[in-house]
Symmetry: C2
Subunit: 187 residues, 2 copies
DNA sequence: CTCCAAACGCAAAATATTTGCTTTTAGCGC
DNA sequence: GCGCTAAAAGCAAATATTTTGCGTTTGGAG
C-alpha cells in the first residue's frame, strides 16, 4: 500500500502546521480532562497558546475542529493482526473495532465527526475501514481463500456495529461473530 | 397496539405546551427557509414570539432543540403499506425509509438527532423503526409466514441504509432489495 | 536579500448565553 | 368563583462567545 498523502496540514513544517498541531493537542488534552460540553474555542486557544481568532478563522466553529481532531484519532495506526484465515482476521479486527468504537470516547469521536458540516469527515472514516478490510481481503486472496466484497463487509459487519452504537445499545462482542458469518454467506 | 403516551410536552394544553409548539414550529420554519448554520436561538425565539432565555432554560442549547424537533419529524405518521406478503411489506417500507432518509432534509435530521447530548433521541428513532417493523412482522405472523427477528432486520436492512447515508453515499434504492433478501436468509 | 502572500495577533464590535429577579399562568383545594 | 402555589416565562444586566478590520510576523520564491 502506498504511503498515504499528508492529509490535513498545509505545507509541512511551516508555522501553520505548528499551530495546527498545538491546537489539536490542546483540544485532545482538554477533552481528556474535562466535560465535553465545557470545552470552548477560547479555552482551547488559551491552552494552545494562540488567539481564538486564529481558530475561528481556520476551523470556523468548535464542531469542525473537534471533528478534525476526531478523524485524526480514528485513523488506524496498525495493520490488522494475522490469524491464518481471512475469516479469523476479519473477526479479530471487527471485534477490536467494535470494542474501540463502543467506548465512551469512541462514541464521542464518531458523533463529533458526524456533527461537522461537510461529509469529508465521515467519508474519511469509512475509507479507513475500507482500507483495513482491503488489507485483510488481499491477504485472503493471496492465500486463495474466498472473501466477501468490501462493500458486503461494510453492510453486514461495520454498519450494524456502528448503528447499534449510535442508535441503540452497543453490540455485545459475542455478536460480532454472527455478523462476520453473515458476511461470508453468498450475497 | 396501545395509544402512545404523550411524549414530549408537560401537561397538555398548558402554557408550556403552547410555547413548545410555537418554538418547534418556528424552528421548522426557519430551517426550511434559511441555511442551517444561520439558525440561532435568538432567531427562533423572535420567530416564535418568546424570549431567548425561555429557550435556553428549557432546551439548553441549539442542538438539543433541533434534535427535539427532528425526532418529532422522524416519528412515523402512517402504518406500513400492505402488499400481501411480509417480504413485500418490508421491501416497500424499507425503500421508502431509505428514500426519505437520503434526502437532504432527512440526513440533516438524523445528524441533528445524533448531535444532541443524551442518547434518548437516537433511541427513540430506533424504536420508531422497531415499531414499524413489528407491525409488518405481526401481520406476517398472522398470515403464518416466516419473518426475521426485528433485530435481524435492524442489523441487515436499517443499519446498512443509515450507515451509507451517514458515512458514505446514500444507497441506490435498487440495493434495498438485496438487503431485504439477506434479512430473510437464516441467521 | 527582498518581496509576497498567507497566517497570525490584537482589540473593538457584534452576538449569543447565562443569571437573578419579577411577573404571569394554569391547576388545585376550598 | 377565589385565592394560593409552583412552574414557567419575561426582562435586563452581566458574561462569554464570535466576528472583523487592520497591523505584524513568517516562511518560501525569485
Amino acid at each position: 500500500m502506498a504511503m498515504a498523502e499528508r492529509e490535513a496540514g498545509p505545507r509541512p513544517g511551516g508555522r501553520s502546521a505548528r499551530v495546527q498541531a498545538s491546537v489539536h493537542r490542546a483540544a485532545r488534552d482538554l477533552l481528556a480532562r474535562m466535560d465535553r460540553a465545557a470545552v470552548t474555542i477560547p479555552l482551547i486557544a488559551a491552552e494552545a497558546g494562540v488567539t481564538p481568532s486564529t481558530i475561528y478563522r481556520r476551523w470556523g466553529e468548535l464542531n469542525e475542529l473537534l471533528a478534525d481532531v476526531a478523524v485524526e484519532r480514528l485513523r488506524p495506526d496498525m495493520v490488522p493482526v494475522e490469524t491464518g484465515s481471512g475469516r479469523g482476521d476479519l473477526l479479530a479486527w471487527a471485534e477490536q473495532y467494535a470494542e474501540e468504537m463502543s467506548s465512551g470516547i469512541g462514541r464521542e469521536m464518531i458523533r463529533d465527526v458526524l456533527a461537522a458540516e461537510g461529509e469529508t469527515g465521515p467519508r474519511r472514516c469509512c475509507s479507513y475501514a475500507r482500507q483495513q478490510i482491503a488489507v485483510i481481503a488481499e491477504r485472503a486472496a493471496a492465500r486463495g481463500e474466498a472473501f466477501p466484497d468490501i462493500d458486503t463487509v461494510l453492510d453486514r459487519v461495520i454498519a450494524p456495529i456502528l448503528f447499534r452504537i449510535l442508535f441503540d445499545e452497543a453490540l455485545a462482542t459475542e455478536r460480532v461473530g454472527g455478523l462476520v458469518e453473515n458476511a461470508f454467506t453468498a450475497a
